[in-house]
Symmetry: C2
Subunit: 84 residues, 2 copies
């Protein structure tokens, strides 16, 4: 889940794996909390055992330092989920 | 948000609108709680002010009564969000 990709020089994408739906939902809430803190809101795709994230800076329609800061914070948060 | 569509005779899709990210995240948690209760887990797409839901019964790779039950329960839950 720590492999972010830059897509079309425009947005960041990553996918995080979990052991079940509940863990994926919990992580979605972590990401939501970060999003509100940083006031930077990714698109989140929650499904069984997986959270996909897509993120860019809408005001510049591309990537900004804040996207990479958020990406790093999500990875940090994901690390707390152990070996999933 | 109460307009479910049957897509390809295979799954149900709906999109619910909210006034901001926090409300959309709260509804995502409502849907997650229903999903755990009914043990039927949709795909959820959370973005600013919007929650998209895609749902089908994986065991029959199509639609079952349980999908429509979940759909109705989501609509009911959404109704609590007022006029958003």
């Amino acid at each position: 889940g720590d492999a972010w990709e830059v897509v079309d020089d425009h947005h960041l994408e990553a996918s995080y794996e979990f052991e079940d739906f509940a863990a994926a939902l919990a992580f979605t809430n972590d990401v939501g909390e970060l999003a509100e803190e940083e006031w930077h809101h990714p698109d989140i795709h929650l499904s069984w055992g997986e959270v996909g994230v897509e993120m860019w800076s809408h005001d510049i329609d591309g990537l900004h330092e804040s996207d990479f800061v958020m990406a790093a914070r999500m990875d940090q948060s994901y690390a707390e989920y152990g070996d999933d």
